[in-house]
Symmetry: C2
Subunit: 215 residues, 2 copies
């Protein structure tokens, strides 16, 4: 019984890692499509969001079976409920990558991000990618210290988000309202992506230590 | 045992209804603060978001206890897992109401929404309020037909969201980039609020019928 539970849990963990890797690749490709104004690449990212949704369904199904068959209690139960939260956060990260890609697609072949904002958006994408990479690591080998580091990465994201608004609202902005709105929404997509990643990290910490991550 | 399970489930349902009523009131008050440019009222909405978070924690705790003590299977288990999803959606609706209030607070005593956009924002708020009200009803008396109606309300929201962008991007917009960004983000907050409400409705349908709501 105990071995069966371990086996099921490892399977759930594997699905979560696949999801995390998938949404990391999705955001990476979405950013490239965005900065290259490549509509076809953007469309490919949007089309592949179904794969994340399908993995999410598999996690839910697996967890349901596991709860029904094994009726775990205490810390085992905590692991299982946490896995559901993590899956929901990663699924949403996939949606946000698709939102970035949709913005790129809508504007293509014109670029959605004017040159003045491209540098900041690129940095936001780098932080997002770093955070997504840590989630995969934390899931593969739960580590409270690394999960706590995510908070600092998230601060870097918040700083960039503020910088972006300084550019959009500055006297030098010459690209009008439409581009400003696109950039503001893009900024929000990256920032929310990071938030969900940090949330997922917090859940993993809780899973490992039983302590709520201070936010 | 069976009676104890029923009792716990009723308690979880009561908490969910409290959460749903709370986030409905929050969005209503946030909208009033926004359209009246009332910073103090906006600050009060932001401060009360903790109450929703606290109810969310209570739902999670209750569900954890229930799973551990009763080890429900099949349709009972489905009810319990669904309750967690619904709670997460409603918690997020509360965050979005707080985002609306924060925008109002940041701009006050100036209005964040110029007159040309105020009518559409008010209509979005009305649809959001109608949807939130239905969630409360569906939770109190699960009803697949009413839950399915939420999809239509969500279409109305999407139409308004598009209308808002027509105004922001139209030749008549004379309020500059900052107000346009605020309005675009506000539009997104109302639209996401509705999405989460529809999600919650879909979960309730699944709970009652075992059928996934077509989206």
């Amino acid at each position: 019984m105990r071995d069966e539970f371990r086996g099921d849990l490892i399977e759930v963990g594997r699905l979560l890692v696949s999801m995390a890797e998938g949404v990391r690749t999705a955001m990476r490709n979405a950013t490239t499509a965005l900065l290259d104004a490549d509509g076809a690449a953007a469309a490919a990212v949007v089309a592949r969001d179904d794969e994340t949704d399908e993995l999410y369904r598999q996690v839910e199904e697996k967890v349901r079976q596991l709860l029904a068959r094994q009726a775990p209690v205490a810390s085992d139960l905590r692991l299982v409920v946490t896995a559901l939260h993590v899956a929901a956060d990663i699924e949403r990260m996939g949606d946000l990558a698709a939102h970035v890609a949709k913005t790129a697609k809508r504007r293509s072949p014109a670029p959605a991000v004017p040159p003045e904002a491209a540098g900041i958006v690129e940095q936001m994408a780098q932080v997002a990618d770093r955070i997504a990479g840590k989630i995969t690591m934390v899931l593969s080998a739960p580590d409270a210290i690394r999960a706590a580091e995510l908070e600092r990465d998230d601060d870097a994201m918040d700083d960039l988000h503020r910088e972006l608004f300084v550019v959009l609202l500055g006297p030098g902005w010459a690209h009008g309202v439409e581009a400003a709105i696109d950039c503001a929404l893009l900024g929000r997509f990256y920032e929310r992506y990071a938030d969900h990643a940090v949330n997922a990290g917090g859940h993993v910490v809780f899973m490992v230590t039983g302590e709520q991550l201070a936010t």
